[in-house]
């Protein structure tokens, strides 16, 4: 059995597999399916200061080998997250989890980040500056290097735990943004969030998703994610948690070969509630087959070429 343990700022993980934010709720729902303690960590659903209902229905559409969503950051607000959601998770998961922080203004981000970072179950923050499904905030910070850096700096000042910035793939030059947040003090990067996509109803011509556009995720975006993770990990020194289209153990290995120090699994949890469990099993088998004794050895294996 290969060593799967991976250490990242704020996270000492028994393996590099983390369910991605928004596809795993606050974690406890999945404890019905398997013992979630097998997970390296958990990225919980995006949290904002106030409760948000999110976008009108339909929020979901499909694409070839993937799905579109426009949930719109529905969440019960930070008070409920801190006092109820995390408490429901506490008895079920022993390791640190990652808080996904969202907001419509710099102030909101900073306040949510500060308060989340003080909770004892939170090992790191993931700052979601890349949600394509809300009008205010979010993605502007993710498409402008200066704004991304300003936000990172402000959050670093208040956070008690390491800060990861979650990047959007919908930009001309992701490396520029990655470098800006690194320079601003980010401890790590998580990437990628969803690609922007649309589908239309053929009869009416209406966009299927009520919000019109949605975020495209799932296997279809894997080659895009691999390219961006490769580019960013070649350009920055801080670790990257790679995601986008991972659906099996092989995809995890490919993402780490591209340069990711750990991975997150998103949409696949929705299609198969046992996905992360199966992926961890597959990972163990694959590494043995490949004769790899420590998973950290394959991180960035491609960079030599």
């Amino acid at each position: 059995m290969a060593n799967l343990r991976v250490k990242l700022p704020g996270l000492d993980m028994k393996n590099p597999v983390i369910p991605a934010s928004g596809t795993f709720g606050f974690g406890y729902g999945f404890a019905r399916f398997y013992d979630i303690n097998i997970l390296g960590s958990i990225m919980i659903k995006a949290t904002t200061l106030e409760p948000r209902f999110g976008n009108p229905l339909p929020r979901i559409a499909e694409g070839p080998s993937g799905m579109l969503n426009a949930i719109g950051l529905q969440n019960p607000g930070i008070d409920v997250v801190l006092n109820e959601s995390l408490e429901q998770l506490r008895p079920l998961y022993k390791d640190k989890v990652i808080a996904n922080v969202a907001g419509s203004s710099l102030e909101e981000y900073v306040e949510v980040a500060r308060r989340m970072s003080e909770h004892d179950m939170i090992g790191a923050l993931e700052i979601n500056i890349s949600c394509p499904n809300v009008k205010a905030g979010g993605i502007q910070f993710g498409t402008d290097a200066t704004m991304a850096a300003t936000l990172t700096k402000a959050i670093k000042e208040v956070s008690k735990v390491p800060v990861y910035i979650k990047l959007s793939p919908n930009v001309t030059d992701i490396v520029e943004i990655a470098k800006a947040v690194e320079a601003a003090g980010a401890d790590g990067i998580t990437m990628i969030n969803t690609l922007i996509g649309m589908r239309f109803d053929l009869k009416t011509g209406k966009p299927i998703i009520a919000n019109k556009t949605g975020g495209y995720s799932g296997p279809a975006i894997l080659p895009v994610a691999l390219n961006l993770v490769y580019k960013v990990t070649k350009a920055v020194k801080i670790p990257v948690i790679g995601m986008g289209g991972i659906s099996c153990g092989k995809d995890v290995i490919e993402m780490m070969i591209a340069g990711a120090s750990a991975v997150a699994v998103g949409s696949q949890n929705l299609v198969d509630p046992f996905a992360c469990m199966t992926i961890i099993e597959e990972l163990n088998e694959l590494l043995d087959q490949m004769g790899v004794s420590d998973i950290n050895d394959i991180v960035g294996l491609s960079h030599q070429y």
């Binding site: 209902f53 499909e62 993937g66 929705l270 299609v271």
Partner: protein, 252 residues
């Protein structure tokens, strides 16, 4: 390892009911997770990444280890499903959603519109078993879309409405209920949203309405199906698909 709510089923029968509607029986242990009529299963159409999402289907009947569901071919997923053969396997999540709560007294009215008809059948059987008097109203577009009329007749009186009048009454299910002065204490309905909305407006109390929504997961993880009701946000896949008629927000 036993997987909660999850199982591999074997297709045991496939019957074509109309030009584009099929009835399929699948056999598998995970049937045991079903607790209520009106629950649904979520089907992985094949073991490829395309189509990616599962397809939710209401349970029309369930036995010890068998589930019957009825589907219409509307897109790629249901097309592939319709071409499956007896003996092929289907990976399903089972026992999803709250389901109907059959009320054991008074008169029951079942209302099924189009592909909303199937879940009413198991419910009707259970109500009858409980000794409840059952009347059924079915609505279809045209006569050639009709199915399961005979089955519902075993439960009690059946009225059929077609939009074009090609069979039974011409008009909507509500037209029939009114014309026939159908008496009921509780009603249960599944069908297109405009039908459900009309029912909730007309009969505000004692109704259980089964909704559809495009779903990411079907088991509560993605918030893809969350809608607002008078009693708070509800995920159609967990706190639904059945909503109480008096909690539905009436538009307009």
């Amino acid at each position: 390892m036993e997987k909660y709510l999850s199982g591999i089923f074997t297709i045991t029968t496939i019957n074509q009911l109309t030009s584009d509607v099929y009835e399929m029986t699948i056999k598998g242990e995970a049937t045991k997770y079903i607790t209520n009529p009106g629950q649904f299963i979520n089907i992985k159409i094949n073991d490829s990444k395309e189509p990616y999402l599962r397809r939710p289907m209401s349970i029309a009947r369930y036995f010890d280890d068998k589930i019957v569901f009825i589907f219409r071919v509307v897109g790629e997923g249901t097309k592939i499903l319709s071409k499956k053969k007896v003996g092929e396997k289907l990976d399903c999540l089972v026992g999803l959603g709250n389901g109907f709560t059959p009320v054991g007294n008074g008169k029951a009215l079942l209302i099924g519109g189009g592909l909303g008809t199937p879940p009413m059948y198991e419910l009707g059987l259970q109500l009858k078993q409980m000794g409840v008097e059952v009347t059924t109203v079915l609505g279809f577009g045209t006569s050639d879309q009709l199915f399961y009329e005979d089955k519902f007749k075993e439960l009690g009186p059946v009225f059929v409405a077609t939009m074009d009048g090609s069979y039974g009454y011409k008009g909507t299910v509500i037209d029939v209920i009114k014309q026939e002065n159908v008496e009921f204490d509780n009603y249960y309905a599944c069908g297109p949203e405009p039908m459900l909305m009309a029912l909730a407006k007309t009969y505000r109390q004692n109704g259980q309405l089964s909704y559809e929504a495009r779903m990411g997961c079907g088991f509560g993880a993605c918030m893809g199906c969350s809608c607002e009701t008078l009693t708070g946000d509800k995920r159609i896949c967990v706190e639904g698909p059945i909503l109480r008629s008096d909690e539905v927000i009436i538009d307009g």
